[in-house]
Each structure stands twice: as structure tokens, then as C-alpha cells.
Amino acid sequence: MDIWLLPRARLGELIATLRARGYDVVAPTPRDGAIVYDTIESDADLPIGLGDEQSPGRYRMVARGDAAVFGYAVGPTSFKRNFHVPTERLYRVERVGGALRFVPEPVAARKVALLGARGCDLVALRSLDRVLQGDRYRDERYAARRSDVVLIAVHCGTPSASCFCTSMGTGPRASGPWDLALTELTTGQHRFIVETGSAMGLTLVRELGLRAAGTLDKIHAAKVPIAAAESITRRLETDALGARLAQNLDHPRFAKVAERCLACTNCTQVCPTCFCTTVEDHTELDGSAAERHRRWDSCFDLEFSYIHGGPVRPSVRARYRQWLTHKLSSWHEQFGSSGCVGCGRCITWCPAGIDITEEAREVGSPRKAEKTT
């Protein structure tokens, strides 16, 4: 594989090249005190010199004291909102004479380049692909939005205290497929070491006329995700985890976590693989037309499991159990992988600071004899 050198001063050209090719560049950008993924226009929009502090229930965007561009860990948004959009009209039905006319909502054509995707982000996207355009079910709207996407990964050098990608095998090094993968080096001349992973990646590198990276730079770059991995302290033991959780569905820990859980839905909304939606119908006041909309929903919402007669999961205990065991256990049977990529978002953005790794550890361990102290 060829490896190239991109000086920091020329990062803007990569963005400009993508934009000239008609791509919306979706990348990290600071907004309202957090680093979010959104459309950017130039490298000036990137979180230059910004990092973050994260812990259960707490996030702070902080100045790093250097000019690093990718010196933060994942924030509250994930790339899923670009393809699996939070709210959309599916179709409109109009009365025409005695008949009904169905008018599907077109999906706007949009070419998207994801710049700065971490290893966990990419695995999460593949997970969503499997769910929404895999073998069992195909969401044409998702597939259309996902049809022309350039992936520019960043090998992670700055995990947060919430991250546990090393346990889930999703990072800090971003495994392919990607078109380009960057490693940021800030010591000495600020630069990126660029790997190409596709014809598109090579085209971009040629268009920019990048020089090959030197041996020393390649070595420096290879060390970045290794050092990142060493700095990660959060762990989840995944050995037989699915089975261990499935055997412990009546574990008393579920009642305990339900005392702390707000059923606020934040964990599912920030999770890059959660895909649940609700469908809502709306009518014109005079009854001449109706519309169907789809919105993000959550297994933590009481109404989510409502069927005739009542909700299937009325207690928060049952809802937390659904979330934990779906992510870490039944997802394997359904989709052939874990539903969790270890990004830590649900830990940081839970207002109650509930930690999925801690809950899974408790529920998945052999039950202690009931203590009588």
C-alpha cells in the first residue's frame, strides 16, 4: 500500500477537491460547546486546537494548547444522521375524486464525504448498512443516501475516558474499507500521513499531487494508534458475553440500574448503531390529504412497545434490559456482530452517567449468593 505525506497547510485543498467533485464534506466541527459532525466549507471549520474531556454524564470541549485538527474523541453526533435521518416525510396521500393518489417523497441526491471518521464510526456504519440495506431488509431511502459516500478515516490518537474500542476490536486504528486514512502528526512540521484504500482514494492523492511519505514518518504514524490503544482504560470482557447476558435476564442488577435510569432515550439517540424509528400519520384539516412521517424513536420510550392493550415493556427495568441485551447479545443472532462498537457515547451522554460496560460486567458475571449483611 502506498503512503503519502499531506502537509497541514494543504488539508484545505483536500476539502476543496472533494467539494469541487460535488461532495458535501461532513466533518467534525465545534458547535455549542461540543465537537459535532456537520457539513463544513473549509478547514477553518474543523476543531482546530480543540479537544474534549469525557466521563460518565459529563463532556467538556477544551483547548488543547496545540493546533491539532483531529485531537478529540467522538462527540454527541454520529454519521448515522446523514443516512438514517432523524425525521423525514415518507409519502403523501391525496384524495383525487374518489381515488387515493400516493406521492412518495423523493430522496434528495447527495454525495457525501465523511472526513475524520474514527475506527468505531466506520464499524458502526457497516453495522447500520447490515441492518438497513443488508440481506434481510432494505431501506431504499437509506440505500440511496449511502450510495455515493467517500470515507476519509482518521486513525485515532486521542481516545476519551469513555472509549472502549479496544475491547470491541473497532479501533483506535481504523480498519477498512475506507478511501483514505489519515494519521495526524503534530511534532515537527504539522502533517498527515495518508494511506490509500481505493481507486477513489488514489485519484484524490494524484489530484493533490502528494509526495510519498518517508520511512520515519511511516513509523511515527504507525505508533499513533498503538499509543492511543495503550491509553484506553475502560474494558468490556466480550468472551461469551452474549450468552452470559442471555442467561441472566432476571439478574437483580436490572432492577438496580432501573432506579438510576431516567428512560430519557439519550443513550439510544447518540448510539451510532441504534436504528429504531416510529411512523406518524398526519392529516390536512379538511381531510383532503394525509402524510406519513418517520422519526427516530427509542426502546426507552414507554410508547415504543405499545401494541393493542398496552406497552410490552412497561417498566424501565424491562427497557434497560432490552437495550443492553440487544446491543451486546441478541444483535449477534440478528445481524452477526455486536451492536456496540465501544465508542462510549452512551456513557458520556447519559445524564445519569450509567456505564454500559459496568452494567454488562455485573449482569454477565456469575450471580453472587444473595448477601445477608
Binding site: 461540543a34 430519557c264 432515550t265 439519550n266
Partner: protein
Amino acid sequence: MKAKKPKLAVFKLASCDGCQLSLLDCEDELLAVAGAVEIAYFLEATSRIVKGPYDLTLVEGSITTEHDAERLRLIRKQSKKLITIGACATAGGIQALRNFADVAEYARVVYARPDTLKTLATSTPVAAHVAVDYELRGCPVDKRQLLEVLNAFLNGRPPRIGSHSVCLDCKRKGTVCVMVAHGTPCLGPVTHSGCGALCPSYTRGCFGCFGPSASAHPAALRPALTQLGKTEAEVARLYATFNAAAPAFAAEHQSLAKRKEPTT
């Protein structure tokens, strides 16, 4: 098409009129509503009064006097569908703070002749007195939701209104959480959706105007609020506002009030 338009009535009990104003505030859409119904009783909008029965009745306000309780029973008798609008009608409103205090004492402090006053010791929601077909939350109600409820009832379908937390709306919108990212105390995690997550999108914490969400669990929010520097008394005050008597909020500020009391 229907020969006769459904008759709409809007009644007011103990309240500030803000919710009815939301209907008048609908401007553009109000004309469409006025076209779809016959406005039979709506004193805020017109002094023309058409006698009942009414097809659709909106009730604003809470019950604080025996006289209003009697009026409400008559309103119910004349209404095919009765919808309550706002925090007063659905939870007793801010005036329900009296439920946790001594009304006689209040009256003595405020009025020169408290003996001329005829008031109940409590402020209670409409549903505590008569059957209600739908309760729309908010202080005041959200005009889009009000239109949605009217639309739904006129078209014989369920209103498209969730009972989830404000957080779900924040996340759908892409609003950065003010609590986690800024350390701003926020009642969003326990508050019923309806405003479209208005305050957090202006980097303010949620005030709980729409009352408790379907799964509201204020005790679980207490550690987060106290970690952000709120004393327990301040946490109690956060809940003792527009929806002070809504069961989930009342339980929280009352349980905190009990903890404050010195044990003698």
C-alpha cells in the same frame, strides 16, 4: 361533504388565558380552523354565544372553587368530546402550590377581608372531576400541538403527540445537551415533550413547562442536579412550578421537603 360543521366551544376555569391565546395566536391556521368548525362558545374571541351541546370542547384552567366544579359538570354534560388544554387543566397549574400550603393562611396575608373569599383548599385538574377525552400539556400549550389535536379530533384519528422526554427532541434536532456539555441543570430528562425542545436550543435548561413525561423519574435526576451545584431545596423548587401537583413532580418536591424538616 358534511352538511353541518362541528360546534367548537372553549371554556375557562382558574387560569391565565394563555392557552386560549395560543389558539388565537395560530393566525394563518386559525382561518382554516374557523372554516372547519362553528365557533359556538369562545368568549376570548367573540361574544356571540351558541347554545350547547358542543361537538368539541376545549377547557382551560383548574378547579379552585365549588362554583367552577359545578360549571365543569355542566360543560361536560354538553360536550361530546372534552379536551383539556394546559398545565392548569391537566395538572392544577401554578395555583396548585396551594395544595402544599395552608390556603386560609394565604388568604389572611393577602386579603383585607378573607371572610368574603370562597375557595377550595386545593387546585385540581379537570380530570379529577369529570371524564376527559384528551389532555394537552404545556404552560402554555404549543400552538402546533393544539392545531394537531383539533385536526386529529375533527378527522377521527389519534393525535400525533408523543409522551417521551424532551431529550428525544433535543437529539432529533441535533441540539448539544446543555446538561452534559455545559453543566446547566435541565429538567428535560423528566419532562414531557411538546415544546420542540425550545430552551435547550437556546442553551437554557428545560423548566418543565409540559410536566412529567410518561416515564418521568425525578429521583434519578436528583444526583445529577445536585452534582451541578443545586441544593436539595433548589431541586425541590425546580419541580414546584407550573406542574407542581403533577404526581411525579409532586412526589419529588414533597419527598425533598420531608428530608428538610428537622426531626424533633
